[in-house]
Symmetry: D2
Subunit: 440 residues, 4 copies
């Protein structure tokens, strides 16, 4: 259960400087949208839990809304800002960088913004990475391209060295764009900043193509990725239907959460099976996946299987636990395993088969953001700038139930967002594919 | 202020039949996602209004969540269903039709579903429209196409004749897909049904490419439409930058609400001016739009103007109030007016100009839904089927703050959703375009 | 009948300088692809004309092939180059500019290249247009955008003033990218250059989105434009089929030649009627277009009409002959005329109708080149550079029967390329639409 | 050297039946486009070979043009037609099937057309494949989908059994859509038909996504495939530029010919290296590929490598010659080999690297034809129908130098079309990538 203390946002100090946006904000004073210091949004709005009955509404856990404040903490003329992108690619990274720079420059009048190259290693001298000056001119058109102009890398670095770099460059605000591991790294940076008594705000924009950051509506780039994924599913379907015993097998992203697999299957109703990390499945036996698939291929002549990369890890015998440079558990390749097992199973059963394997992950994550994600990234970036200028730190900005809010970093990494095997989304997927509730 | 009575959902009677989904639903009993009869979701989750301080949370206005019920009102084996699409085209209509049919047939076992042709006139004998049988086979691939396989038309028809047709065909459930005028028409149908003491459920799926239905997150098709609109804005920008004194002028949908204009401009940062119905603007004078545009063209050599069709109606002198067949106010053509005024103004000022006019509305609204909207339509359709089978009537299904909910029709037509001229969205637009807060 | 003298290419003088490409070319000496000074390609390869029977093949009219020469006329280190784009937009303009600059710089070592702004007016002092320095860095990514980075304008300018500008800037080679009127303008420039005894090469890359330049396979950008046009035809079809009595009317480019209309209809088989400039049609009467359309709408409930902008000019009563700034005949707007006449005719016949009009020309011509056109533009640009460096002048480069060739400018403007009303293409269109051979 | 006898087209007998198209064709009598029995097109139009000097033009080798004849061999009312698709998928297969059926039915009045399932095995009883009835209704919209509605398979079957099936079904015309191996199979079928003294025409539509059929302009689907391939190259470039030491490695189709690799690199200038079967390359040593790549990665921080699947076969040690079911040489996987060698080489050299491997072949070949290919397929199908109805056999239809012609099958399989390592295309590729002429 989330409590008040989990939702409290840290600040560097009181906001005593008039925002350069004040004139515009002045016009907004009478409306509910202006963000006052004590504005809050309920963390949960469901009344199904008995515990909330009769509780005064203002005593329920609530979140701080995002948005511009009338008074801010940092003096724009003297503020120096750093931006870093970490982890795997995701559509929209350049949009976020662009949105941060444009908002800082044009609307707050911040003049010096630098980008650190290739993730956290950009702070560490021995890698010899240059720092990149970011101006409105530099970022104006970067949203037309996928990837990140700053480069990225996996893995955290020594937080002491990172804060050394921040001090050396006199950075006041650091924007960190990355996932779970990146945010944990940022928390270490915050710890060192505090230990040294510095006034540096660290604000995160959560990036996760898997949509597994908790408490937020949907991570940026997710819709773009999901739309790209539908193309691979459809190609797999075309291949499967064009060959005798055609089986199209598509491995999609989703280390811990099968959101991309689920949504893309709902969007393009071509799949017969969806396998996700949240729902274990038996491979063998009469009610196992392989036998079910065999019957489907014999009945219809073809089948399409979509598997999230984190699904079925229990079946990978050669699975050696380990962690990659970002601290993520290293996954065995379920796609290749299934390709082999399906072929063997159908061969053994004397069922003619033509298994086609699709692994489109790099192609999916490197495209530019679609218009929805592009606008979303821009607004997320605006919210991040507002939060940082108001002195918020160790916080991520996110949209929750359609409202931009501040979520403390510790809460954001306290768990992952999962497809609920008992929820509406998975039920719709079962309906769309017609697959059984469980393979056992 | 919305009160409890505004949010109360009408039902035809108690649910006494076990849902065919019961087996699946049984597994879900222990989770918070199962929809119990007394589940509610808070209507508003903002704590900024003094009035709510101290109020017990379960006394606040709340909505009924959508989703499958364990017990239902209609016996699937005996249920006959009708579907009708009304008003202008919108991406996703076929996806909704398809979702309704598949959910009804596959999951509830409903066997007879008919589509009425060309909107409400499909019920009226003198038009001679055939009724279309809708089976899973018929609808399987219709989502690949834009438009609606049922056809559509504007305008309401005599509710008595409509209910005559429902009785003649022994329809138990009518799904109405349409906008404001269509929902008002459906309310008339409900009135006649009640007067005749019939047990026919009328459930709406709100369609509005303008996103102007209130209290909902975003209407289906909106993201697709907005993404298409960005293409026209970009084409206008290319044209404007390729000719001396180039002015690209794009008229987009938006009779009362400028959402498509605002979002598409945020997504593709090519526009210099956005004009929407919610923000009046002066044309003439030193601080008027035309003079500002003249200076921009002289300074930069080109400009891009995006105007929502309902903007600047006050400037259309020949504007004769009237209503179209659906009862919508007939709008003067602000696009053509601006094209003429801009050309004249720049000519008068001896500023060379090449004005290119884009009117992409038909092209935008006729495309198939993008993957996000496609999945969204499917889930909306599922919610509509669950609501109807549980005997809800005079209700629309919608997503509000990311939850599928039931909204009474009278509430859904009580006002329109507007871009808040003091809110975050418009502020982001002003930042993206750099246009002044007001032309006066 | 084309004779030898029509195909002779003018040169500024003998090629006495070793090409910087010589080393690479040396390896090619033994193959048929190396371009020797006396290489020729037959102008026509059809044997159906009695006159050619028995004629020795080397006495038949033939063309000079394009491609790199071992010896060239201009010394790259001392060569200055100008580039200008004229007339309406066409996909691929930036690709051609880019290809010219990259080939000149990287492969010949030319160092100074300038772009003239906004067509021929870029040469004329009183317009005050700046000259743009073009380097590989400037042009590297311009192919991602539609339009032309140089800007463009219609109309010719005084050739004396143009040559003054060439002399002032010490230009040795001028590349002109434009259509019929632009090439005629270039011929005037050549005339003045000759009168002044200058050694300036003028080489054209023919641009015509209508594909109406004669003797060439297909103009650059045509496939991109045709592919875009299919989208509008399909949207018109969706609209027509979604409304009672729906008529989708699409006006496409094609002042004198209906190629875009024909090819886009073949690609996307949605149209019932195609009207092109090459095939006159009667509007009224029992066998006229309007009556045929009425019957089609009554029979099928909808129809799609595609009309090239130059079609049916004989029906535009208010047609006042005149010429636009480029010297093109000004056309009446056949799209608006048809929209009015169709509506009136169906109204008079008491046939319910919903006419939707599409005018996508600006949207079509402003998109970036598709991959095929992009590669084609690059290769055309290479051929243009090779021709110019070898001292060819008053020549355009083109692909004819899949070979890059040099065509003298006078021949290129001697007639237009038309859809042959008795040829295969039009016959395929008649088959695809099912429309009668003639409306009379 | 191609001689007259190589170009002679076999016919089943004299054409004595008036074509149903005669009325339309009558109007065409006076034009050069009507196809007379003795019309010919020169096989080669280059005058560079000394041997042709002075030769009367009508004694040079020439081709029979495609197109409708006034008199035909088969009586449409009594004609039965079979269609089969063989080999790998290629964009446009459904367009060709559709074009054949529509032309046969609508324009010749042929009533019975069947499709054989899954390639040549569709003729062989023991596979138990059903025959599919093909009518205009069945094929009307199949061009919206990739793949082939008939299914396909690799490998030839016993020609005696195939002709048995043709006799059993009383087939008069067999259309075979496939590549090199398929055409060889069709020649065997023709041999058996002749031995049995049957009057069955066998006409091929050449399919090769690699564009390696000789003597033709470009095979259908090639432009679509090449455009798709550019997306993978661009994704590889985005990935490479976003990671330290990023190397994007893309394996494209091209067993014997590197056309897709070459054209897609010209269209999207993102690649640093292109490796094709026609140009051998050294891997190791100072001037080998791996060292060159290492220097590029060290200099620029990233590189993109495009490799055709048939390139570098000499480097695959474990390469065991063998043939797949279609008789094609089985290739070792050069993509995986390069991925391993690049990683090892850079690791050994202590160069940080992130190699990302793309294998998009299935995704490329399963998309629907783009508008250009769609129109091209339709016209090819028309030409095939005209050829078959006029009694031509053992012939493929193709476009050569922009003319539809008949090419005898033996000539079509006599060699492959290759990228000329000394020709324009490869030279443009070297210029675009900047890679050395050879790695040695």
């Amino acid at each position: 259960m989330i409590g008040h203390q989990d939702l409290a946002v840290r600040t560097l100090g009181p906001c005593r400087i008039d925002s350069p946006l004040a004139e515009r904000l002045a016009a907004r004073e009478t409306t509910q949208h202006s963000v006052e210091e004590d504005d809050r949004i309920l963390f949960d709005d469901t009344l199904s839990m008995a515990g909330t009955r009769g509780v005064p509404v203002d005593q329920l856990p609530s979140l701080e809304p995002g948005g511009p404040r009338k008074r801010i903490y940092f003096d724009p003329a003297k503020t120096r800002v750093g931006i870093v992108t970490c982890g795997g690619l995701c559509p929209g990274l350049n949009d976020v960088i662009r949105g941060l720079v444009l908002e800082l420059c044009r609307h707050y009048g911040v003049r010096r913004i630098v980008g650190f190259r290739n993730g956290y290693r950009g702070f560490i001298p021995h890698y010899g990475e240059d720092v990149v000056d970011l101006s409105p001119e530099v970022v104006q058109h970067i949203d037309d391209e996928g990837g990140t102009i700053l480069g990225t890398s996996r893995g955290v670095q020594d937080p002491e060295e990172i804060v050394d770099a921040l001090e050396r460059l006199a950075i006041n605000i650091l924007f960190v764009i990355g996932g779970d591991g990146t945010i944990r790294g940022a928390m270490e940076v915050v710890r060192v900043i505090q230990e040294r008594g510095l006034k540096i705000a660290v604000v995160g924009v959560p990036k996760t193509i898997d949509n597994d950051i908790p408490y937020i509506d949907q991570s940026f780039g997710f819709q773009t990725a999901m739309a790209e994924a539908t193309k691979s599913i459809h190609a797999a379907s075309v291949e499967a239907r064009s060959a005798p015993g055609g089986v199209g097998l598509v491995k999609l992203m989703g280390r811990h959460s099968g959101f991309i697999a689920c949504y893309s299957v709902l969007a393009k109703d071509d799949a017969d099976y969806v396998l996700i990390p949240e729902v274990p499945f038996a491979l063998h036996g009469e009610r196992g996946f392989l036998e079910h698939l065999r019957r489907r291929v014999e009945d219809r002549g073809h089948a399409v299987v979509v598997v999230a990369e984190g699904a079925g890890q229990e079946h990978i015998e050669e699975h050696e636990p380990g962690r990659d440079a970002s601290g993520n558990v290293r996954l065995g390749d379920v796609g290749r395993l299934l390709r082999r097992l399906i072929t063997e199973h159908l061969d053994d059963a004397k069922v003619e088969n033509n298994v086609r394997y699709f692994d489109p992950s790099y192609a999916i994550r490197s495209v530019p953001a679609n218009p929805y994600d592009s606008a979303y990234c821009l607004r997320l970036a605006h919210a991040a700038v507002h939060a940082a200028m108001a002195g918020r730190t160790e916080v991520i900005v996110a949209r929750r139930r359609r409202r931009f809010v501040h979520i403390p970093m510790p809460l954001a990494v306290s768990r992952r967002n999962h497809v609920d095997p008992l929820g509406d989304l998975w039920m719709s997927v079962l309906e769309a594919t017609g697959q059984p509730v469980r393979f056992e």
